[in-house]
């Protein structure tokens, strides 16, 4: 029945991909993702994993190889971060448009310049509209569990889309913590072997990803969007089955003490744990604070997010990447606002930028944001950067 071990989260992520029996890994090293593919290359070289490890010369080539192998019917995995993602991004759109269920972990890191190897969500936001399903992990256990889930969902014939599993660079990727690693038989019972819906096969030649003339392009994009929208039901179903098998249940939006909360912090990723600690600290001072954490980033869980926050007075929405819109709202701030817009009664919203390029986010920072949101009186206020020097 598996076992509980102390392990660096990147190593556990690689072990999870190995437990999922990947056939092909094509990757290029980039901090802070490197340990994931490094460990996979060791597993292959040492004969522990029967897979093809393709060391490529760039992330652009990595995703190109992944597309080839996935199209040929191989279970395919890669990982990247930041600038690596930026270089890869051209091909990421093609992976989703060709409906190839590649799984990729992204150890989230800031984008240059100035050069930063540290954590924020700039790469995740950059990848927002690529058509990939995207989940966001809060801790190491979730990274492992979401990797199994990613293959399960992506390869489901009702879905057939690539899946990106986001984990905070360093804060998760380089963290040593206890993780329950399932054994192979348990994973096999959850994740059947990949059966491609169609594949490149010399005996039955097909073309994939050819030119789309104006008379077909719109239909192709509509079909792709419908596939992403429809994937949500399968994502939820696969989490239910995961919970029944492994005892850990996941939802698109996780909540913490939101039932009676006046102020709810809306966040993604590992800082949600600090947010929960802050909520407890504030509750000890008599303030009713809760946390709504977005685990499913794409497709965006609009109804699932509105339901737990609708009774609150104030939302504190955290953006972890500068979006340069020139406007008053960050990316997540804008997404949440669009959820609220169609509702007759909804909480007011304060949008904060925090934790850019590795700046630490403390319990005290959360207390400050909650304070500001509750003092706001519902008036619209432009975004504010927390813990910044003038």
């Amino acid at each position: 029945m598996g076992k509980r071990i102390g392990v660096e989260v990147s190593i556990a992520a690689a072990e999870a991909a190995a437990l999922a029996d990947v056939d092909v890994i094509a990757a290029y090293p980039i901090t802070p993702q490197t340990h994931i593919v490094e460990h996979l290359s060791e597993l292959v070289a040492d004969g522990h994993l029967d897979a093809e490890f393709i060391p490529v010369e760039s992330e652009h080539s990595a995703m190109s190889c992944c597309i080839g192998s996935s199209a040929a019917g191989a279970r395919t995995f890669t990982a990247t971060s930041s600038q690596g993602y930026a270089l890869m991004s051209e091909i990421c759109y093609i992976a989703s448009s060709m409906r190839l269920p590649i799984v990729m972990t992204v150890a989230n890191r800031a984008l240059s310049a100035p050069i930063s190897i540290w954590n924020d969500h700039a790469d995740m936001m950059m990848s927002r509209d690529t058509g990939w399903i995207q989940t966001v992990a809060e801790n190491g256990q979730e990274v492992v569990d979401l990797i199994f889930h990613a293959f399960k969902v992506g390869e489901d014939h009702r879905v057939l889309l690539p899946v990106q599993v986001n984990l905070d660079g360093f804060i998760l990727s380089h963290m040593i913590e206890p993780i329950h690693m399932p054994d192979k038989a348990e994973v096999d019972a959850y994740l059947p072997p990949y059966k491609p819906a169609m594949r490149l096969d010399p005996a039955h030649p097909v073309s994939m990803g050819p030119v789309g003339m104006p008379d077909i392009y719109t239909e192709a994009k509509m079909a792709q969007d419908q596939a992403l929208r429809n994937s949500k039901a399968v994502i939820v179903e696969a989490w239910k089955e995961f919970g029944d098998k492994f005892g850990r249940y996941y939802k698109p939006v996780e909540t913490y003490k939101t039932e009676d909360a006046e102020t709810i912090i809306v966040s993604m990723g590992s800082i949600s744990e600090t947010a929960m600690t802050a909520a407890d600290a504030l509750r000890a001072k008599g303030k009713k604070v809760g946390v709504a954490r977005i685990r499913l980033w794409r497709p965006f869980p609009e109804a699932e997010l509105f339901e737990p926050v609708k009774g609150a007075k104030n939302l504190v929405v955290l953006d972890r990447a500068m979006n340069f819109s020139g406007g008053d709202t960050g990316i997540l701030g804008g997404e949440v606002k669009s959820v609220l817009f169609d509702q007759n009664h909804h909480p007011s919203l304060r949008n904060f930028f925090v934790g850019l390029g590795g700046r630490d986010i403390t319990v005290q920072n959360f207390e400050e944001m909650v304070e500001k949101a509750s003092a706001n009186g519902g008036k619209p206020v432009p975004y504010e950067i927390i813990n910044v020097r003038d």
Binding site: G6, I176, E177, S270, T277, D360, T362
Partner: protein, 168 residues
């Protein structure tokens, strides 16, 4: 980072919860680096750095001249130092106010392992000065990490445990 990692692994081995993480810089062997450890009986739910430690372990005595190692130390906290000096000398020279535990880890490491690397040696001092982890919990992570040279590391750790002077 190695000693932080081994501490967390030992705690997890003992069934506790733990986090170990570096201060996320471009790390180079020999350069000053910080690493953080949290150990708890309950699941740990925070991702902040450690700003108010209960325990500070200093592997290199020269750091005392460039870093306030006592910054944020909690009431009743302890500073565990690799030093050749006595409690009185350290207190006079560094101005550290907190409780001290001292060991000449560099000498122990040189004599038992023939390298001036004090990670596992200082874990012996940590064992002696606090009840955070046990030698039983440490054994498996050290064996896994160091393979053929694990025994030497365990020996250095055990000797530091004997020789560490803990202020009452």
């Amino acid at each position: 980072m190695t000693s932080a990692e081994l501490t967390a692994l030992a705690a997890i081995e003992e069934g506790k919860y733990a986090q170990a993480f570096p201060s996320f810089g471009p790390e180079r062997r020999g350069a000053p680096v910080m690493a953080f450890v949290r150990v708890s009986d309950a699941p740990i739910r925070t991702r902040e750095k450690v700003y108010e430690p209960n325990i500070v372990v200093v592997l290199d005595p020269t750091l005392l001249k460039i870093v306030n190692v006592e910054a944020g130390l909690r009431d009743g906290g302890i500073v565990i130092l690799n030093t050749t000096k006595s409690v009185e000398e350290v207190r006079k020279e560094s101005g550290i106010k907190g409780r001290l535990a001292l060991v000449d880890a560099s000498k122990i490491a040189m004599e038992t392992m023939r390298v001036p690397i004090t990670n596992t040696t200082m874990l012996g001092a940590l064992l002696k000065a606090t009840g955070l982890i046990s030698m039983d919990g440490l054994r498996a992570p050290i064996e896994h990490r160091f393979g053929p040279i694990a025994e030497k590391n365990i020996k250095a750790c055990a000797r530091a445990f004997e020789e560490t002077v803990v202020e009452g």
